[in-house]
Symmetry: C2
Subunit: 385 residues, 2 copies
């Protein structure tokens, strides 16, 4: 095939784009949060191949560190090669077989998404609903398990859309009685909020990298415990999602090292560094830091006459839904913060649309200086209205 | 929930891992290739939110630049938030409805993978087979289209497992007559090998970032032309893959900017920079560079008594399958190159296992200095056997 046969190259879209530059945002919304500087350094490291002995070693370290962060010994504990939603989908795709009853706690946006995803995998989805910001009691969960005898109970541990923390103590025991796998969303809790997968008996969990782990989005933790792996191994049909099929991905991350897809090398560098930072700080100290900075925020908001949507008992330290005071234009305040202070906070979603701001203090961003600056900027924004 | 109720933190997996360090590999295998240094710089840029005006602007630039690289004006031209296999799966998940006949050209590993994936989406897969390294003739494709009248014809433009380039001129015309969508894998051609999506009438294409675009893996180009978008819009059922559902992802990348999932911010930075480099160099110059360096490699291999598996007419400049001479331990040579020269080349897969080395000269790595060094190192390795 000689060059003479090629059509001419069209230059319409040959954009002369400027060198990359972005404003120095302080990301205090629901995520992404700013990556830790050491994570960004690791991200830019030169590459090795995805089967290089140096990379294999790094994979092993990453898995161990991820097990520490999640407090689990699950063998199948891996970073999925996509953002948090990919790990969410992987958690369902690998544990649901068509016709399975899946009870989903719907008390926010991500509960809704779980229903949508589970439906696509053929689940018979039963919605357990509550107002956004509330959580499910053990009695409510017990009743739902007794009524539906589901294959999977899916709960959101940390609802990024509402700022509520779903207590999980004792839930696994109820699930065992019903023969149910317990699956949780820990996107906004892993690395920032107390979480004990094995002690709490969680069977399946997923998370994101860009929240309390302070790694850019693009890689996302997933873990399957023994009961979930058993179910995966006994499937009668292939997982109806090739990219997220953990029976294959697990062989790349397991001792076989069988090629499945090319791992996102640099995102894995960054993710390992993020997990190293968790191990260095220690979970107890990290959880305490998140809690203390959140309490500083809540006290400061109260002084400004701003309440919190979620009762203190179930309030996440990583994500606060702050109630927009009457008469205040919530969107204008967010724009003021962005344009004058490079601070990002977010609007409410769904039932909380127009009612709250979502303020995240996650990972590297959970620092006293951010809280104090945000409160000062918020005070100024409110005074201008 | 007071801290007193928490179980103790277990420190078994609290690994004291060293600071990240990896050998300075020259990645001359089938990918990933080394990222361009400017791409690694962009990758480490501080983050903004995925709905930040600065990011929206960057998204628009990226789409335009990707259209240039692919020579298409398709509106739905986006980077998928995963590695090339995710874009591959997205191409099928969005265009296949259960029961659709899909004819797949199987003349290498990635043709096989297309069959596996398509089957998971309920396609009636018809395999069009050839020996690994060969390509399909227009007559063979015409006959297959006439026999199967498929909804989709899936062909691998650049087979990374064999180094063969499938000619595509005229194929779309055959597809139109049969009412068939033409879907191609351009993972190892985009940015390195002449490719004219619109002029050639390709309906659906996907690629990877880590080959001729010299961006790390973790983001992957996908484009759907008008006929494919029409089919997507007329679907009777939801795309059975939430993360890759282009009817939703397209709204985030389109004018609506509706949140779907958190985009991998830093990978998008890197990807934009990689595409900027393509636009700066210009496609014609870039393709010429890949061709010239490949010819230098082929001539040098011939001097060492090493032939190429693929006839010159269909040989990819980006990936060469070099035939391992009789009596030579191919694996030992690859290990020698890695351990003594930090050069990565790869083994053959499938039908070519043990028969060839796979040598990639892709993007930033398609440089004279890499060819000359590799040939010198290969010569030394052969002399030692």
């Amino acid at each position: 095939m000689s060059q003479n046969q090629w059509p001419p190259v069209v230059n319409t879209n040959r954009l002369n784009a400027p060198q990359l530059d972005v404003p120095p945002r302080i990301l205090l919304g629901p995520g992404p949060s700013n990556a830790h500087p050491r994570v960004l350094q690791a991200l830019g490291m030169r590459q090795v191949g995805h089967l290089d002995p140096a990379f294999i070693n790094l994979m092993n370290e990453t898995q161990t560190l991820l097990r520490y962060a999640w407090q689990t010994d699950n063998q199948l504990t891996v970073p999925v090669s996509g953002t948090g939603s990919a790990a969410m989908e992987a958690s369902l795709a690998n544990t649901i077989e068509p016709g399975d009853v899946v009870v989903t706690g719907v008390n926010g946006y991500f509960g809704e998404r779980l229903c949508d995803m589970a439906g696509r995998y053929g689940a018979d989805v039963r919605r357990l609903e509550k107002a956004w910001g509330e959580v499910f009691s053990p009695d409510e969960l017990r009743a739902a398990l007794a009524e539906h005898r589901p294959a999977v109970l899916a709960l959101v541990h940390a609802e990024t859309s509402t700022g509520a923390r779903q207590p999980l103590e004792g839930v696994a025991e109820l699930c065992r009685e019903a023969g149910t796998l317990l699956l949780i969303d820990s996107v906004t809790s892993l690395g920032g909020v107390p979480l004990f997968l094995d002690a709490w008996g969680v069977d399946v969990a997923y998370s994101g990298s860009q929240k309390c782990l302070s790694c850019p989005p693009g890689i996302s933790p997933l873990t399957l415990g023994p009961r979930a792996v058993n179910k995966l191994n006994r499937r009668e049909t292939k997982v109806p999602n090739w990219y997220l099929d953990m029976s294959m991905v697990g062989k790349y991350w397991g001792s076989e090292r069988t090629y499945h897809h090319t791992a996102p090398i640099n995102m894995n560098y960054a993710f390992r560094e993020a997990l190293r930072l968790v191990a260095e700080e220690g979970l107890e100290a990290r959880w305490r830091r998140h809690q203390e900075n959140a309490e500083l925020l809540w006290a400061g908001l109260a002084e400004l006459g701003i309440g919190c949507h979620v009762p203190r008992e179930y309030r996440l330290p990583s994500l606060t839904t702050a109630v927009i005071p009457a008469g205040i234009d919530g969107k204008a305040v967010a724009v003021f913060l962005r344009e004058n202070y490079n601070i990002e906070i977010a609007a409410g979603l769904g039932q909380l649309g127009g009612k709250v701001w979502r303020i995240g203090l996650m990972g590297f961003n959970s620092r006293r200086e951010n809280v104090t600056l945000l409160l000062a900027a918020l005070k100024e924004a409110l005074a201008r209205q």
